[in-house]
């Protein structure tokens, strides 16, 4: 038994020395721009993560990773869809790889987890996808080294609520995934819709990941003029199918992620005619977007989603800032100042950044149609833009101070005044 333990200790020491031997040494060249990228590349969100990385990578390939003289070192880290792994990986990027900035994160929870890392490490963080409203609203002061290039959850919902009201809908039932992102998307829609005179008469919250909507669909009130849905991931695919199977004849509206290009190719004809709102549509008929879609599709074999576009665009923004500074990273604070003052022409349209570091951009009301686009020879589902609200900020037409005084949209806010 004595040498048993000697050997056991030997194992331990061997492990330790291996761990030490693997310790990498990072050396930084003078003209190198190190960008850390945090995205889920394994786990249930791996495919979304791939879209994110591909979008950024496409821009790097186009520019041969040369940002105004600086050679970009692009380091992708897997956050595995877990907020505390995202923190660990971001710290790895900052402490070990000495990145000048880290970009990405997928879920709102990852955004909330990564932003404090930027504060603690005084390193620039660019949330390209995390859309939690409060990152650039009520909590902004906590994160001086963060600037958002994606969107805030309720940003497309405000004009969408107005649009629904303009269509003459009076009563709408909302059904959405039961978590913070769902509350914010539906909350924004409800506020704008009701401010215009509409009524949300029912709110249904199926748990996130629901696959069988059997218990929910029959409870939808029959006197509603339309249904507003907010689905994510596999829920987006299941819900329209089951809704159609139930014989629904009401118009269906949806938050951006219910019909984005990540889920659209897997959908059936039952979603034709459904309307959603987001800051990007792959069917946007501008030369810049047509070019982007064709290049992306040629390279990765699929239509870009907003996950791809947002990261492509972010790479472009970083490029423009670095170019302006002749290949030097100007420091996090200066970077934010310069980016906030810039107007960027992107595939999604013109983007500027407001004083609370959230993009001001076009919001597109999109209708799912089956048609041919950009010279592809097959009939496919596309998010055809039917109305554009130009330069929409996160506060829409509301007074900023008053808006920030109300609580962040949640399960109980805005209260469902017209629910019985």
């Amino acid at each position: 038994m004595t040498h048993t333990w000697l050997r056991r200790a030997g194992q331990l020491l061997l492990g330790l020395s291996l761990a030490l031997a693997m310790r990498p040494v990072s050396t930084a060249g003078a003209e190198e721009l190190r960008i850390g990228f945090v995205a889920p590349t394994t786990g249930i969100f791996a495919q979304v993560g791939k879209d994110m990385v591909d979008g950024f990578q496409l821009y790097l390939d186009e520019t041969k990773s040369d940002f105004g003289g600086a050679q970009v070192k692009f380091i992708v880290e897997d956050e595995q869809g877990k907020p505390d792994t995202a923190v660990t990986k971001a710290k790895k990027l900052v402490l070990q790889d000495k990145v000048q900035m880290f970009v990405g994160g997928l879920l709102a929870s990852s955004g909330y987890a990564l932003a404090p890392v930027s504060t603690a490490e005084k390193t620039l963080y660019i949330p390209t996808i995390p859309a939690a409203d409060d990152l650039t609203q009520r909590d902004l002061a906590k994160y001086p080294y963060m600037i958002r290039t994606g969107w805030s959850s309720s940003q497309p919902s405000h004009p969408f609520g107005q649009w629904a009201c303009d269509q003459g809908y009076k009563k709408i039932v909302a059904i959405g995934a039961d978590y913070a992102f769902g509350y914010e998307v539906i909350g924004g829609f409800q506020k704008a819709f009701e401010d215009c005179g509409g009524k949300i008469i029912q709110k249904i919250w199926p748990p996130i990941g629901t696959k069988d909507f059997g218990p929910y669909i029959p409870t939808i009130k029959q006197d509603a003029d339309a249904i507003f849905t907010l689905m994510v991931g596999p829920m987006s695919l299941q819900f329209p199918k089951q809704l159609a199977a139930s014989g629904n004849k009401k118009p269906v509206l949806g938050g951006g992620t219910s019909y984005d290009e990540f889920v659209l190719p897997s959908m059936g004809d039952e979603v034709i005619g459904h309307v959603s709102a987001l800051q990007y549509s792959a069917a946007l008929d501008t030369p810049k977007n047509a070019d982007f879609v064709k290049k992306y599709r040629a390279k990765y074999g699929k239509v870009p989603s907003y996950y791809s576009e947002s990261n492509y665009t972010t790479a472009q923004m970083i490029h423009e800032i670095i170019q302006k500074n002749k290949g030097k990273f100007p420091g996090a604070e200066e970077f934010i100042k310069q980016l906030a003052a810039m107007k960027v022409d992107t595939p999604r349209g013109p983007v500027t950044i407001d004083e609370m570091r959230n993009p001001v951009q076009n919001i597109y009301i999109k209708k799912v149609e089956k048609k041919k686009m950009f010279g592809y020879d097959k009939d496919e589902l596309w998010n055809t833009v039917i109305k554009t609200y130009p330069n929409v900020g996160q506060f829409w037409t509301y007074d900023k101070a008053a808006f920030l005084k109300q609580p962040v949209y949640n399960r109980d806010f805005p209260p469902c005044k017209f629910c019985e």
């Binding site: 004595t2 595995q80 978590y179």
Partner: protein
């Protein structure tokens, strides 16, 4: 020097090696070591149940969860626990973990085997449900961010200082649990593991023994949660979800159930593969999977069983052919 003393000496040497080596590595390795050590307190607490009492629990993350949420809520809402009162939070965390286990234990301890597994799973998911849905308290899906670590004479925001603190807690927990399992109480737990009926006939109140072990494990889980909250800086339902409990169970089995130290080895390997190897190669999941599968297939006693198997393998050539084959069948 007896055999047992030698074992203890080995662990002490290993701990000293960690003290000396880790702070001299780079800061990311220090961070990972801190995470692994904080989590391995939970794994060891599970080992008391799994390895020493024979109760496989699938809800251990619940105790880590309450400890972590307690820390986060006190720190962000009441600015409590960011100075010397950090020690009070440690005590509260342990008490809360133990209290929760005391409630859950009443429901779970009646069952054994797979039923115990299912009840602990269900109870663990209750805590997850609360964390996920009680938005006003827990921040729901978004979780709670801690802003800064405690400062009391020493500044825990310094990663190396914090590493030493976590290591100290780890060492103290290891020592306490070691004393516990070597005590007459611990011996009766082992007796229950081997044959509960016999222990009962001998006059032991086996229910009470198991219950106390369950509560103690909950207390250590709570401690691990307090440390985890400050290590990660964020507390979210992800910390209480089923996979976290499964992780703890796998780490305990991987290192070797019933060895305590196996827990930290398992945690070190899993964290190393998942968070260090994943920064180097994209196929880290295959390695992790292979480690699990190979361990289950060939090392039912975990990595801590390797020396024993080598010893047996060395001894076997002297045996006749039949016996050799028998010896190589994994038992």
């Amino acid at each position: 020097m007896t055999n047992q003393q030698l074992k203890v000496a080995m662990v002490v040497v290993a701990l000293i090696a960690i003290v000396v080596i880790v702070p001299n590595t780079n800061s990311f390795v220090i961070l990972l070591a801190t995470r692994a050590l904080a989590f391995s307190i939970l794994v060891m607490s599970l080992d008391i149940l799994l390895g020493f009492t024979g109760l496989a629990s699938l809800g251990q993350a619940a105790y880590l969860g309450v400890g972590a949420y307690l820390t986060a809520i006190l720190a962000t809402r009441y600015q409590f626990g960011l100075g010397f009162d950090f020690w009070l939070v440690i005590v509260l965390g342990i008490l809360l973990g133990a209290a929760l286990a005391a409630i859950f234990g009443l429901l779970a301890i009646r069952a054994t085997g797979v039923y115990f597994l299912m009840i602990t799973l269900a109870l663990g998911q209750c805590v997850w449900g609360l964390a996920y849905r009680w938005n006003s308290l827990t921040g729901g899906d978004n979780g709670i961010n801690l802003r800064g670590r405690p400062k009391f004479g020493i500044d825990l925001a310094n990663e190396i200082t914090f590493f030493y603190v976590v290591l100290a807690f780890f060492a103290a927990s290891l020592l306490l649990m070691y004393v516990l399992v070597r005590s007459p109480f611990g011996r009766s737990l082992a007796g229950i593991r081997e044959r509960e009926l016999r222990m009962r006939i001998l006059g032991y109140n086996t229910w009470l023994h198991k219950y106390i072990a369950f509560v103690i494990a909950g207390g250590f889980g709570g401690l691990s949660g307090v440390l985890w909250a400050h290590t990660a800086g964020i507390v979210s339902p992800e910390n209480v979800v089923l996979t976290t409990s499964v992780d703890a169970l796998l780490m305990a089995v991987l290192g070797g159930a019933g060895t305590l130290v196996g827990g930290v080895i398992g945690a070190g390997i899993v964290f190393g593969l998942r968070e260090y190897l994943s920064t180097l190669v994209p196929w880290w999941q295959y390695v992790l999977g292979a480690v699990y599968v190979l361990t289950i297939l060939f090392l039912p006693t975990g990595l801590m069983g390797i020396p024993e198997r080598i010893r047996r393998w060395r001894a076997s050539p002297r045996k006749p052919e039949g016996a050799k084959q028998l010896a190589s069948i994994p038992s």
